[in-house]
């Protein structure tokens, strides 16, 4: 069947409808995924940044995954990175790249937690949310796993700008590329 015949028979319009539906579903799924991944990162980063810097450094030292000289710089800058990546994911700015960065952070968190549990280091609280939410390392591992899946899903969905997002606002309108 030629393209002309397909157009005549209405096959193409069904495909268009199907594509439109898939796109609509992608848009609908992307928002909750962005809110969950970005929201958790913003909350985690924010609660650590506003609390005493030493709190997170103490917890990081207790995990014994970093050389002592690295603990303070990592404890100081990592929460800001969470906050920044969380902000970009939440509002959909460079969504694909920020979702990859978020997924990388969730992989790092999970690796630290698995390593600490395997070595028998099991603090009362994972320290992920500063003085805010207190979750055990095991519960946090489950949360990180779920968020990692969402971040990877978002990476897949965000091949094109998904509205509503900052990316879609940037690409909308008659502006020059």
């Amino acid at each position: 069947m030629s393209n002309e015949q397909r157009a005549m028979s209405g096959w193409t319009s069904r495909q268009e409808v199907s594509t439109h539906h898939s796109s609509l579903i992608a848009h609908c799924l992307a928002v909750p995924a962005r809110v969950a991944c970005g929201g958790v990162l913003i909350y985690a980063g924010f609660s650590k940044v506003v609390g005493p810097a030493g709190d997170f450094a103490g917890i990081l030292a207790a995990y014994r995954v970093l050389p002592a000289a690295w603990v303070t710089p990592v404890a100081t800058y990592w929460p800001w990175l969470e906050l920044l990546v969380g902000s970009y994911v939440f509002f959909g700015y460079f969504t694909r790249i920020s979702a990859i960065a978020a997924a990388t952070q969730f992989v790092v968190f999970s690796a630290v937690l698995v390593s600490s549990i395997a070595r028998g280091i099991d603090p009362n609280s994972c320290g992920c949310f500063g003085a805010g939410l207190s979750l055990s390392p095991r519960h946090t591992l489950v949360l990180d796993g779920a968020l990692l899946m969402l971040a990877l899903f978002l990476t897949y969905l965000a091949k094109k700008p998904l509205s509503p997002s900052v990316d879609s606002w940037i690409t909308s309108g008659p502006g020059k590329p």
Partner: protein, 207 residues
């Protein structure tokens, strides 16, 4: 507006709003000190710097740092405020919780500080006892507490509430040892307070 301008504007806004939000929160007076009653605070109530100590009355290191705490309060008079938080390490100290309970009963009669000083001074006398109630009553008498009221409070489990509250907060903050001092945004654990406390206070006061 061109796409490039939109991209720059969005980037700047999305990068700056967390900085502004964090600055606003840090300027406000949120923090653990709000949960500490005035009766467990020492020093100038308007002091800019707050030192929070998570402590356990049966912990030997907590007893050792007490003279340093008092000397710093004298040295930095008017510039620092000190807040005490209960953090009884119940897994390793059998009298940690009941000594905190006794101190809380002294708090209810506004005599926390003299009572805690005597608890630390006499720590070696009661730490191994199966029932140190007599020692706690003796200290209560020394610091002129109303003994009937003290006894009623000590027998009432509801007066353990503030201790549980401090413990929960300490766990959330990842406190794993005593004494832990929070000085501004720095944290000193154990005897380090004796050697590095002054430096940490000076640093916090300079900010």
């Amino acid at each position: 507006m061109s796409r490039s301008t939109k991209r720059w504007v969005s980037g700047i806004v999305l990068t700056l709003w967390p900085l502004v939000a964090v600055y606003a929160v840090k300027q406000s007076n949120w923090g653990p000190i709000l949960a500490t009653p005035k009766t467990r605070q020492l020093g100038d109530p308007h002091a800019r710097l707050v030192i929070v100590e998570y402590s356990d009355f049966q912990c030997p290191a907590c007893a050792r740092v007490q003279p340093t705490v008092h000397s710093f309060l004298e040295l930095y008079k008017g510039r620092v405020r000190f807040a005490f938080k209960y953090y009884p390490l119940t897994q390793i100290h059998k009298n940690a919780i009941n000594s905190a309970h006794a101190a809380q009963c002294a708090t209810e009669q506004n005599q926390f500080w003299p009572y805690q000083d005597r608890l630390f001074d006499t720590q070696k006398q009661w730490e191994t006892l199966a029932n140190p109630t007599t020692n706690y009553l003796a200290i209560a008498q020394e610091v002129h507490l109303d003994l009937d009221r003290f006894t009623r409070c000590y027998e009432d489990p509801s007066s353990l509430g503030p201790i549980a509250q401090d413990q929960a907060e300490g766990k959330q903050r990842g406190i794993y040892s005593t004494p832990t001092f929070i000085i501004g945004d720095q944290r000193l654990v154990g005897n380090v307070f004796i050697s590095d406390g002054a430096r940490a206070i000076e640093k916090a006061l300079r900010k």
